[in-house]
Amino acid sequence: MQRIGVFVCWCGSNIAATVDVAAVSDTLKNEPGVVFSTNYQYMCSESGQNILKDAIRDYQLTGVVICSCSPRMHEATFRKAAAAAGLNPYMVEIANIREQCSWIHKDKAAGTEKAIILGRAAIAKVHLNAPLTAGESPVTKRALVIGGGIAGIQTALDIAEAGFEVDIVEKQPTIGGKMTQLDKTFPTLDCAACILTPKMVDCAQNENISIYAYSEVEEVKGFVGNFHVKIRKKARYVDTTKCTGCGLCTEKCPVKKVSNEFNLGLDNRRAVYIPFAQAVPKVATIDADHCNMLKSGKCGLCAKVCTAGAIDYKQKDEIIDREYGAIVVATGYQPIALDKYDEFAYSQSKDVVTSLEFERLTNAAGPTGGTLLRPSDGTHPHTLVFVQCVGSRCEDDGRGKSYCSKICCMYTAKHAMLVREKYPDTEVYVFYIDVRTPGKNFDEFYRRAVEEYGVHYIKGMVGKVAPRADGKLMVQACDLLANEQLHIEADMVILAAAIEPDPSARHLATMLTASMDTNDFFTEAHPKLRPVESPTAGIFLSGVCQGPKDIPETVSQASAAAAKAIGLLAKNKLTCNPCVAHSDEWMCNGCSACEKVCPYGAITYMDKEFRMPDRTTAIRRVASVNPAVCQGCGACTVACPSGAMDLDGFSNSQIMAEVDAICKMK
């Protein structure tokens, strides 16, 4: 029999206005086991907490029920207060009479009645509460950063700087991500490579950072502080310890017509390649899909020319097991596929390009050496039409995204400005819905494009782009401000394609048990207050995987995520959630149903010797829960037919007691 104290909070008038708090505390006083019941203006205030602490001591309370706001709000507060008074914090239950009662009901009688019932349910539950002790688990002092773009690089550098080991897993042969493909960056117009490559080199040189490029996360097990990750290091067929990155093989390889993904297919590379000059790690990779030697066993040229003897056709994918305390997701984005946008003739004409392709076409390291040439015929374009919001902010038409991709306005302004600066003979049109420039020096930048560089900004959408036989692109559009139809004879059309999370993120989210929104962006633990943490403990979010961002914002979020990860890694021990499942070995059948539904692999089976009541011994297969791994979802408790598996804090009997109290006739 518990000795229960009931504390009813007024929450100022938030509760007291629609719930007769005195009636609630008076009625609940008569419930079995209740030895103290009171109400107070603000239970969460210091004086409120003192009332609680004093009552626990004075009445030797063994259980506490607080009728107040949502447990999501102050459960931790009251648990802490109870603990300070010497009561096990898990002997506290909250009846949510604010969010789920006073705020939604207008009738005071009904609100009061419901508050009493909710209080009774909490009392019924507390009767069956047992003191729980949170276990501790050690923290592996190493972080994993998934994705080696600017977000991942920045996070890794910050964590490494704080003295912790960091691994970067990057699925491409080099780190650097999308930013390596950019030419200049807004609004300062400094060269992307110039600011990024030093950071890439820092990563490579930092003792605390290990880079697993051309690798993917294969499996994630464990939990905050103790993740076990399997990394698949894909076969490069090049021994990275021997390869000097001299590039000789890439010159001699006879397979020359492989689409170069770094340049977005605008030119070709060899079957053995180094993505770009500043690649980190700067080692060659053999593309198994195209290499003659790997396909048919005939060639072997690269091996012959490699003086370092680094080529290894027998190389296999390698699985690396690593342990981490924290994981930062920095999987970034990709532009959406435009094959459904026939009106822009993207699939029909080579001269209709995406903005990212345009970056490559203007980049000195790009396929044209930085000279802007039409991809179709290599001529100099004179009229360029930029189309904004291709797939962004669109209705749910099955091909675009509802959200704003955020970066397009600025990079388009940058493109337009750069084109006008370098080629003053061009006419540049930008069609937009809105121009959004809410960033430091952003609006100034945009205005320069319009005012200084004479870019034609036209509010309106392009309706159709029609390639003509002579190679011109007929652009039909409307000018909403002038309210007229426009027909522009363009040489190139550049589409600001919406960005979407990298497709690998969905699978990764499942492995990480991190939640995603409907657009597959990772969900943050709190949109305002915990923007770089995933709701799953120990998983942090960096960069565009959480939502569209430009580089400055990405870098600041990356550092924020790093700070959070560092905060975690700096701890020696973590307190575990004590509300975990446990199995009654005497009732366990050993059927494995619970093991099959456990998302964390927290349940194992063992053959255990039992001393049976008839004094014989028997070996029985029974389940055992690792409390450090169990997260307390309860899936196992329902899978278990005998009821051997139960969940502390949410036990079968506790929930049924709540049901009984709620359904009680009186």
Partner: protein, 341 residues
């Protein structure tokens, strides 16, 4: 002896049903007989016996004993019983009729079980003679004559006539009530039927079942017999035999929290169940062997030891037909026969 044309049987039921609750075996959805409260349209089942025995009417499967209301530290005790209505149980076979006297020895022994007593006092038992006993019947072993069943009123159905004979004042009262429908006569027809039935009884495969040596004297010898292990090995520990048995009377007392108070009720229990004797610190009957032994020892040894040699079995044969693994008291008795000789 009174008689009534079967065509008027419904009139008889209606007449009785007017003043008292009348229960009789009718066919259920699965084609087996079960006692139901009579209502127009119900016809008497032709089955030899009901699946559940007639003990239900005096010792129902669940029964509310007492209610409690709790407030603070106080408890209020409420006797939930309302006045017991009179009822007539029609069509009880001789075996079940005997079972009442066995139950009486338990429930009416000091201290009297007033729940049972009240039902016994308010119930009138109308028995019906058997004419087509089955291979599972062995009531004659216990000295029961199914052609001359006991009860407040005994009945025979022959051809198209129901013959009735009152044996007790309660029976007299019932026949007086039914008098407008009844006429005198039928002794010869009944005697003829009895002779025919008895000739079948003599041919029953279990008619010669011997229970010699059972009873209190053999208690330790039978208890320690090594036959129990083999006999009980197929037993799945269900309660079928106990629940269809007209003489099994073990019960459990349980509390049910209604949300408004506690209802203490009793319900049938089975000594075959693993938790029957389980205590906080152990169980004296750990395996099915001990539990199985208890049931048959009770019927064949303990009960006769306490009741002048009367067995706790009436040979109705229900457990023979219903046991999921076809283990039963006859097999047990036969297996133990050698132990006591």
């Amino acid at each position: 002896m009174k008689q009534l044309s079967l065509e008027k049987l419904n009139d008889l039921f209606a007449l009785i049903g007017q003043t008292e609750a009348l229960y009789l075996p009718v066919d259920d959805a699965a084609g087996q007989a079960a006692y139901r409260r009579w209502q127009p349209g119900y016809t008497l089942s032709k089955a030899l016996n009901t699946v559940r025995s007639a003990k239900d009417f005096f010792f129902p499967q669940t029964e509310n004993l007492v209610d409690f209301k709790m407030q603070g530290k106080s408890i209020e005790v409420i006797d939930p019983r309302t006045e017991q209505e009179n009822f007539v149980l029609f069509g009880v076979r001789a075996c079940d009729a005997r079972s009442f006297s066995i139950l009486d020895k338990v429930f009416l022994a000091d201290p009297v079980d007033t729940y049972y007593q009240s039902r016994r006092e308010h119930g009138t038992i109308v028995t019906l003679a058997c004419t087509r006993p089955e291979e599972t019947c062995f009531c004659t072993v216990f000295g029961i004559d199914p052609a001359e069943p006991a009860g407040d009123v005994s009945c025979w159905i022959e051809e198209n006539t129901l013959f009735m004979k009152a044996n007790t004042p309660k029976g007299d009262a019932l026949l007086t009530l039914a008098a407008p429908l009844l006429s005198e006569g039928g002794d010869d027809a009944v005697a003829a039927q009895q002779a025919a039935t008895r000739s079948v009884l003599a041919r029953l495969p279990l008619a010669k079942l011997s229970l010699d040596g059972m009873g209190g004297e053999s208690m330790l010898k039978l208890f320690d017999s090594d036959k129990w292990a083999e006999l009980s090995q197929a037993c799945i520990g269900c309660g079928t035999c106990t629940f269809v048995c007209p003489t099994c009377q073990c019960y459990d007392i349980k509390d049910f929290n209604t949300g408004d108070g506690v209802r203490r009720f009793r319900c049938w229990d089975s000594c075959m169940y693993s938790d029957f004797t389980r205590m906080a610190h152990g169980n004296p009957r750990l395996t099915q062997r001990e539990r199985f032994r208890q049931r048959f020892m009770h019927k064949l040894v303990y009960f006769p030891a306490n009741n002048h040699g009367e067995y706790g079995c009436v040979g109705c044969g229900r457990c023979l037909s219903k046991c999921p693994v076809s283990m039963n008291i006859v097999k047990v008795a036969k297996a133990l026969e050698g132990e006591v000789k």
